[in-house]
Symmetry: C2
Subunit: 135 residues, 2 copies
Amino acid sequence: MAYQTKQGRALVEYLRSQGSRHVSVQQIAAGLPEKIGTATIYRQLDKLAARGLVRKYVGDGDPACYQYVGDDAKNCMQHFHLKCVSCGELIHLECEEMGRLSEHILREHGFRTDPLRSVLYGTCAECLKKEAEGQ
Amino acid sequence: MAYQTKQGRALVEYLRSQGSRHVSVQQIAAGLPEKIGTATIYRQLDKLAARGLVRKYVGDGDPACYQYVGDDAKNCMQHFHLKCVSCGELIHLECEEMGRLSEHILREHGFRTDPLRSVLYGTCAECLKKEAEGQ
DNA sequence: TTGCGTGCAAAGGTTTTGCATGGCA
DNA sequence: TGCCATGCAAAACCTTTGCACGCAA
């Protein structure tokens, strides 16, 4: 029902090598030791996502990002993400403050936040600096 | 610096007529009394979003949705929003906890969050209840 | 051998951009 | 009168799909 292919293995291997980083299809294509067709990458990622080994993020109209979570799916469960609207950098906010916030929202507002989908937009330190200089 | 045009007014009027509903560019184009070029709609929405009168949502690869928040845009400056992925309800989170979080992120992580763009996704109280019953 | 996976190219859809024209101030 | 905004079409972009071929089981 599901074949093991050279391409599939190479893809998983690459994703695993990236740890919990978020990578786009373009980055994947560029980072693979041997060229794999774009369509294949998408198809493989779909399957991996369906099996829960990979998580898909769809940001601000920008290309989707994928993250390997096979070995420890809980890895990114606990933290939120910041995305810089200026340079596009995605920042993992591993911070107890966020956990506290989640709890607060759940307890006080009855709303269970989903860190997988939630991204806070704003401006990162780098770009704030540039902005200040530019002025 | 910014001209008033017939198209711009028509667009705002339409958005306002939709209340807090989320509408796609396609829906807007179809709903307008007089045809406006797609490019113009996008450009106008960009400007409105930049001024904070309109909020842009980008879902799962689907076309982006826009929501008019003009008249109480300033009320929305200070707080974040929660959006229920199940029923689509948009919740204004007026809570000092969020302000504290913003400050924390700015001070500790050097990142300035933008409440106008940032939406936390998750499940609202109503839908959590339904979910629990369904199980 | 069977039929899924691959690769290429083409199609699909949304959003952006270039350029001449029209309309606001 | 200046200059921004518009419209159209074309481009750019990411992603999906069709089809023939190759390869895993």
